[in-house]
Symmetry: C2
Subunit: 325 residues, 2 copies
Amino acid sequence: MTAGGICGSDLHEYVAGPHTIPDQEPHPVTGDRLPITMGHEFSGVVEDAGPGVSMAAGTRVAVNPIVWCGECRYCTEGNYHRCTSGGFVGLSGGGGGFAEKAVVSVEKVVPLPADVSTRAAALAEPFSVGLHAVRQSRLELGDEVAVFGCGPIGLAVSQAARLAGATTVVAVEPRDARRERASECGATVTIDPEGVDPVEQLRETCDGGVDVAYEVAGVERTVTDAVRSTRKGGDVTIVSLFEDETALQLNDVVLGERTISGTLAYLGGPLSDREFGMTLEHVASGALDPESIVTDTVSLADVVDEGFERLLDATSDQVKILVRP
Amino acid sequence: MTAGGICGSDLHEYVAGPHTIPDQEPHPVTGDRLPITMGHEFSGVVEDAGPGVSMAAGTRVAVNPIVWCGECRYCTEGNYHRCTSGGFVGLSGGGGGFAEKAVVSVEKVVPLPADVSTRAAALAEPFSVGLHAVRQSRLELGDEVAVFGCGPIGLAVSQAARLAGATTVVAVEPRDARRERASECGATVTIDPEGVDPVEQLRETCDGGVDVAYEVAGVERTVTDAVRSTRKGGDVTIVSLFEDETALQLNDVVLGERTISGTLAYLGGPLSDREFGMTLEHVASGALDPESIVTDTVSLADVVDEGFERLLDATSDQVKILVRP
């Protein structure tokens, strides 16, 4: 392992878990249960390959952590990331990135283009989440876009939306430091939602509403605001997970012929290099810039105190902390 | 007017209105407010045409009741049915079908194919709602479909889904009479949701979930069931309106990469004959059968006592009541 990122779902497991991490029953694919090694965003250098695997020692790689069964309806269709027994290396067992070494199957290993640093490659995972979300959404070249929530995934979505040709990207985020970073990540306008109605501002800026809104905060207000911020016929793509049920006025969806879609992870299994590869190519060209969201780097020994704990501190300006062994 | 249908939104206005009907302020396009003539599903025979309008007296027609401003963003894009000042003849003023005569602009008038009865043509409106809903949904030839709620629109959706090539149409409906009618309207399986979990039955019938679910009841349970009944990547199309907010577990949408879309009415304005025309052609060929949902016909004088009141009676077997002058 050369670098690993701490993700919001790691924090969620740390504070309120185990959720995705298998506790009582072993994971149906990895066979593992607690204790497991965490870390599902990581890059590294190949040390050795198993029998019959042709990958040279020294190859610099990113790891696509999707775990899949290969047998269910979704795997058969090529949607390995929707596998009914699926999971993630670093959450479901099967090794993990917060370690000096990991053993993963060759399909999960994506070689890096020459111009991509291992530091940037550690964030191929969250940037593939952003790329997949934009690919799953109805965004068309020239569209106007809003992004609700500018954590790491919101920032990755902003960059991917600009890359896909969005002319206007409005970032809605209450934390000053994250709004500033959004401006460096493709946002053309930023709105602080505290004490104002961001939807009114969005409607004024964007002729009655944006074409696509990405909801990347996972709370009721941002979902409601995302729906109301879109034009009639607009698309709301949800990239977050929720603790609670969300109360929605569905007449807003029906009368406006709007669409709400959920998006999860990125392509995996034998397609592991598909969206990871796109992401890495765009990192190589400079069109996507994972390093722009990194706020600090800590050692493996400090992952809890200097990593998890600082990211959980709502007064902190941290966005993405990398771990290096 | 030769025949008119009583719609659920008429009942809604009668019991709990005025909602869509303009009360204090005149409607921005029609200029009318209460009292207005109701009835937005109707066919008739042209008696006379205004100056410069070429439509022969005696032409049998259906009326597309969409009211539009012609100037807003949505009208300019051809989505007249999403007009920001839009409405419906029979709800927003501008005449109405529960009368012996109505005056409407020529764009709203759709001539009938020879093989379509004026009785069937009175239901071109709700059947265009069903056709539009299926066209807006992601239904593909060969898909498996569920329809939650078998009132007139649910039955129209079932017929349109079969016409679009759905192989399996599962109708979920608590009333016996409506389930029976669903079987005549293209449903291949019917489920009574009282006392059972229709989602479990649907998942067993359809390999873990249907491709597309249509929600045509407008209550929280059917929305939740519709979402849970779809396969991962599935589509939920909502064709109903809601009295209250709906509590949704959005993780079902996100983890399953599902889509929830709203759909409203049908194309209108200068495109008034587009989806109305498709509907009438399919009625002429017999592929859509509006008469199969008609349960009674009453005179104009009896529209309240024999029409509205019987449809509001939950113990009644009535589905669609036609009015004839």
